[in-house]
Every structure is written in structure tokens, then in C-alpha cells.
Symmetry: C2
Subunit: 371 residues, 2 copies
């Protein structure tokens, strides 16, 4: 079995469970840091492990372009290449083609586009997305989908839904790797009828896990939070549910409340590189002059190596001096923060107090503006 | 006592000893990685420790400008600020003023210049150089000296020598911190008569340690290697001898052969950031396409975390993809390499086989061109 999933505790729609994958055990709900180019930016695999990370996400589009999926396969697969021995989920590459590549043309056959690196003409079909991910050897692969922008009109979303269903079926047919599970992706924007149609078709195909795509693509957090509960229940209760590309800490808790089990987002690392730290009292900007002589850690009580070792004053200095160590240390803190948040959410679900936990966190985050 | 130094083994002019400083014990000959802006670029203090580093160098000019030496003092000193609990040596700031600042004017009083960061007018006198370093709280402080270029005519070098002697005396008079030792710096270029005069004056002042400045400033490695033995013996035999800003692995061994105990250089970190790795078989460039599918580590048998974990193919990918982890991992390897080289040199001196060791290393390095 390439995947087993057990829901161990329920608290309203929220669930805490265990996902077992070829490279290890993952407690859910789980946050997956993004390792786009075979590295979680600025962090060694050892730092990522010490931050409590159980599973990371790799990007199919980037890795297929550079260093190339056949080269990664030749070198022993993505785990060995990047020296990460815990589970990896890879996306299908579709989202990146639509957002990064140029001259993108989409037909039922797939997408043709030009590489954002060197302009070379390329094609991504459902079959090619499967092959790339099989070459990478991720524990979980995603089907190729078409993800329209949040503001897209219904006919565009309807076409994307139809095509995503068609492509999911072709991905399932083409998939052969026994030590890899394939998740389907439900599209439909904030149109619940289209989400229902898409989910019904995909659930009938019996994938081992299901994702919600097309959120956090411009529709606004309120619209997403409102849509999540109704969308999450469209996915099989006994299988892992993954909300793609989301999000801020408050978005993660909204997802957990709706019954989502898995999340990924570039925010902890991207914001860390830009001197923004997540804390229980809301985000803080380390470039702000108020931190110049502050001997407190980024977050008091945080057990990460950044907070137990360095002051805000030192972090402020590193960013002012444009030193690499600033982005590294703040990425480390932010990834640790996201992982701790998910661990606390699991604990709250097990204790039957998730809504109180969530309300408490929201109140504390909202009590402060960004300083 | 802020410093004790014992020579434990001799092998020709080479010596192996122990330097005891307020923050710890240092086995010599020793290489000090450079932590210009209160960080060894790209590395956490834990990585620096794991590379075997016993003492690092901090830059007075940079730290006085940003974050400012009084702020560092207020925050508990440089050790605490950057979370480095082993010894630190700080330079005097003179070399950086001459190489980085603009509108530099030097008189016997000191140097006036404009900051390379914001153009603000500043002054560095011998007294100010002492105060900055006392605020930083380094284990070893350097006197302010004037370092002329390697190609400078004799009258320029003569003026620099006279001024360096004058400034050393004022630094000694102004120095009060009991838990910090002050080293004097012998200038004189490759003019042995001037070196002799400078050393005689400075030795008479009885500093706890002595440095050779004004090497590796454009005079060429052959001229430096030729001058080192005669210059090293001008420094007291019972005190630590430090060759400033040097250099390549072969330059370190030339210095050790001449009786030098301490070295610093930006090469391991700067070259690491530029994808060049030092190895026993000579330097290799990880950007070179020949490493694209090479599963070997950067250096076989190297015990550093880079070499025990990652392949050359992965490092090649990180540099091709412009990922921060490439500079971090290669800086780690290079610092480890320099530290291992010095450890092997100490072992060879203790075994009475330093010249054979040095000849063997030179033959192996020279046996290969850069690939």
C-alpha cells in the first residue's frame, strides 16, 4: 500500500489523523513547506527536520525544467537528490505553467508554453505530468488540472472543470508506480454547483486522496472561508483532503475547521526572506527600526533555533546588512511557527476544543496590527 | 591573563602551540574564518562550530558603521550579539577604510573618510579603533596601522611604517580592557630593512602578540613566500604570530613553514559563494557542466555536512537555480577544508614531518588545474 489514512479524532468537521506513506508517517492536519527547486529555500534538510516538518512539497514544473526529471531519476529520485528522507508530495506543474510560463496555449490535449528560464517550447499533457512525477518518485503525485483565476466567469470555470475531469482520468490511466499515490483535484471556483459536479465525477474514479484547487487565487479570504465547509464535505470522509496553496495561519485554521487535512504554501519561507515573522501576536517586520535594540527573541517561548539563539536586534541587523543568514533564520522560524500551529491544532482536536483554540488564536492575531 | 601562548612542538621554523583566550582555547597554527558583519556569511554559528572553527575574525570598520559598536556593547558585546561563544579577533578597521571608504585622507592624527554605506563623514583614529574594539569585546584587538599597496614606492612604505609605529604606541596607551589582548602590526612591504625597523620598534613596546600586515596586497605570492621566513623571525618567538588576510591553502602552508601561527581570509566563504570548492586535488568549480550528473560528493572522504549529505550534481543544480543553499553548503565545505588543512598541519608538526606534508600537498594541488 502506497498510502493509508486513518482519522483518529473528530471535533465538529475538524479531524486529526495519521497518513502513512512510503517515506514515513504524517500526523494530520499537516502543513507542507514548499521546496520548489529541490530545496526549501535557505534551509538545510536538517534544519527542516528540526523544525518538525513531516512532509514537503516539490514543484513538478520547476524540476522538469531544471535539473530535469530524467536526471533526477537517474540520480536516485528526488528524495536522494535533495537528501530529504521523509515524504514528498509533488504538484502536477499545471499551476506553475499557467502562472510562470509564457505563450501558454491550453487544449484538451494539454498545455503548450515556453519555459520561463530559456524560452524553449514545451508541452505538459496529463500523461507527461504523470511521467515527470514518477521520475521524481514523490510519495504523493497530483493529477494535472486547469486552475482558472478566482475572478474567472462561470463559462471559463466550467471549461476548466470539464477539462480537469478529463485530465484526471487520463492521469489515473497512465499512472503505474506502485509506491506513489495519486490525488485528484476538484476545481469549480466559488461556484458550488460546479464544485459538486467536479467532485462527483472525480470521487467516482476512486483516487486515494482529493485536493481542492482554485482557492487563494484572487477570490479573497472571506469568499474562500465561506466556501470551504461546503466544498470539503464533497470529498470522501475516509480519504485525505488537501487544500492547495493555502495560506495564512488564519486560512489554515479555517481549512482545518472545514475538515481539511493537508496544506502547502510559500508564505513562511517567502515572508521569512522578506523579514516578516509570524508569531502568536501577529506578524512582525524585522526591518522596522523599533527592533534595532530589542534583545527579545523574534517570538518569546518559541523553541526554534532562531528564537532560542538570537535577538530581534540581531535579525534586524542581518536584514539591514543584507546578510544571507537573516532570510535563513527567519525562514526557519516561520516554518517552525507553521508546524507548531498545526501541532497545536491537532492537540486541540484530540481534546475536543478546536473551535475554542481557533477563536483564541484569531482573537490574539487580530488584536495586533503589523508592527 | 587575557592571553597565554605556549609553543608545544617545533619542526624547523614551524610551530604547533596553544593560545588561551578569555573565550577558549585555540590550537595553533589556526585559520580564522571572517565574520565581517557579525556573521560568517551564510553559516549559522552551529555550522561554524561543526566545521571545527576555534576562533573567528570580526571587522571593526563594518561593525562600527552598522549596527554601531556602542549598540553592540549595549546588547552585551559581539559574542552575545552573534551568538558565538568561542574567541573572536577584531581587525582595527584601517584596511577596510583604505579599501572600501571614499574621500580617505590620512594624517598622523588618523584617517578621515566617508562611509561606503551612506556617505557620512567619519574619522578613525588609533584611539577610536581601540574604543570600537573594546565596545565589541573581542578576545584579541588589533592596533590601527596604515597598510600601503604591494606596489607602493619605498617612501610611501616608509611613511606607513613610521605612522604605524606611532599609532601602535597610541593604541597601547589608550587600551584599558583587561579581558582583551592587543596585537601590534608590522608593516614594511617586501622591504626587509623597513620590516626590521618596524618590528624592532614594536617589539620594544612589548605587545602580547604580533601580526604581519601588508602581505597579499598585490605583491604576488612568490614575493610573499620569499619574504615570509625573514619577516616571521623578526617577531618574538614566544608570542603568537599572525599573518593578516592570507590566503590560499598553499599560502597558509608557506606561512606555517615560516613560523606563523594565525591566519584569516575571506577566500573559503567568498569562493564558496561563487561555486568554487577547495579540495586536496585542487579547486573545482561546481557550475561546470561536467558536474551535472556527478553523484560523488564535492570531496570524497571529507567529513563535512555538505560532503556527507549531497552530491556534486545537487550542488551544481543549486548554483544553476540560484538557490541560497548552494553558497551556504559550499561555504561550509570550504571552511571545513581550511580547518582540516590546519589540523593536518598541526599533526604533521607534532610528528616532525611538516615539510614532507607540505610538499605532498603542494604536489597534489599542483597536479591538477582548475576543472
Amino acid at each position: 500500500m502506497a498510502l493509508t489514512f486513518t482519522v483518529q479524532h473528530r471535533d465538529g468537521a475538524a479531524r486529526a489523523g495519521v497518513l502513512t506513506l512510503p517515506h514515513g508517517r504524517v500526523e494530520t492536519p499537516v502543513f507542507m513547506p514548499v521546496g520548489t527547486q529541490a530545496t526549501v529555500k535557505g534551509l538545510t534538510p536538517d534544519m527542516v527536520r528540526r523544525a518538525g516538518v513531516q512532509i514537503i512539497l516539490g514543484n513538478t514544473y520547476h524540476l522538469a525544467l531544471r535539473p530535469g526529471d530524467t536526471l533526477v531519476a537517474e540520480l536516485g529520485g528526488l528524495h536522494r537528490f535533495m537528501a530529504w528522507d521523509r515524504p514528498i508530495l509533488t504538484d502536477s506543474g499545471g499551476f506553475q505553467v499557467f502562472s510562470l510560463a509564457t505563450q501558454v496555449k491550453i487544449t484538451d490535449r494539454g498545455a503548450t508554453f515556453r519555459s520561463h528560464i530559456d524560452g524553449s517550447p514545451l508541452e505538459l499533457t496529463p500523461e507527461r505530468a504523470v511521467e515527470i512525477q514518477q521520475n521524481l518518485g514523490s510519495d504523493i503525485a497530483m493529477v494535472l488540472d486547469q486552475c482558472p483565476p478566482g475572478a474567472a466567469p462561470d463559462d471559463v470555470i466550467r471549461t476548466a472543470v470539464r477539462r480537469s475531469i478529463l485530465w484526471a482520468e487520463r492521469c489515473k490511466t497512465h499512472h503505474t508506480r506502485a509506491d506513489q499515490s495519486q490525488f485528484a483535484i476538484v476545481q469549480g471556483g466559488t461556484n458550488l454547483a460546479l464544485r459538486e459536479e467536479c467532485a462527483r465525477e472525480l470521487v467516482a474514479m476512486d483516487f486515494p486522496g482529493y485536493a481542492l484547487g482554485g482557492f487563494s487565487v484572487g477570490e479573497g479570504p472571506e469568499a474562500m472561508h465561506a466556501a470551504l465547509p461546503a466544498c470539503a464535505v464533497l470529498l470522501p470522509d475516509a480519504k485525505p483532503r488537501y487544500l492547495m496553496g493555502v495560506g495564512r495561519p488564519e486560512d489554515l485554521l479555517a481549512g482545518v475547521a472545514a475538515g481539511i487535512d493537508m496544506f502547502d504554501c510559500v508564505m513562511p519561507t517567502r515572508n521569512g526572506r522578506n523579514a516578516l515573522a509570524f508569531t502568536d501576536d501577529g506578524p512582525i517586520r524585522l526591518r522596522n527600526a523599533k527592533h534595532r535594540r530589542d534583545t527579545a527573541p523574534v517570538e518569546s517561548g518559541c523553541p526554534c533555533d532562531c528564537c532560542t539563539t538570537f535577538s530581534r536586534a540581531y535579525l534586524h541587523h542581518l536584514f539591514a546588512a543584507d546578510e544571507m543568514l537573516g532570510p535563513t533564520l527567519l525562514s526557519l522560524h516561520n516554518v517552525s511557527y507553521y508546524l507548531r500551529l498545526m501541532a497545536s491544532a491537532r492537540e486541540a482536536i484530540r481534546g475536543g476544543r478546536f473551535e475554542a483554540f481557533r477563536a483564541g488564536r484569531l482573537a490574539r492575531w487580530e488584536g495586533r496590527s503589523i508592527d
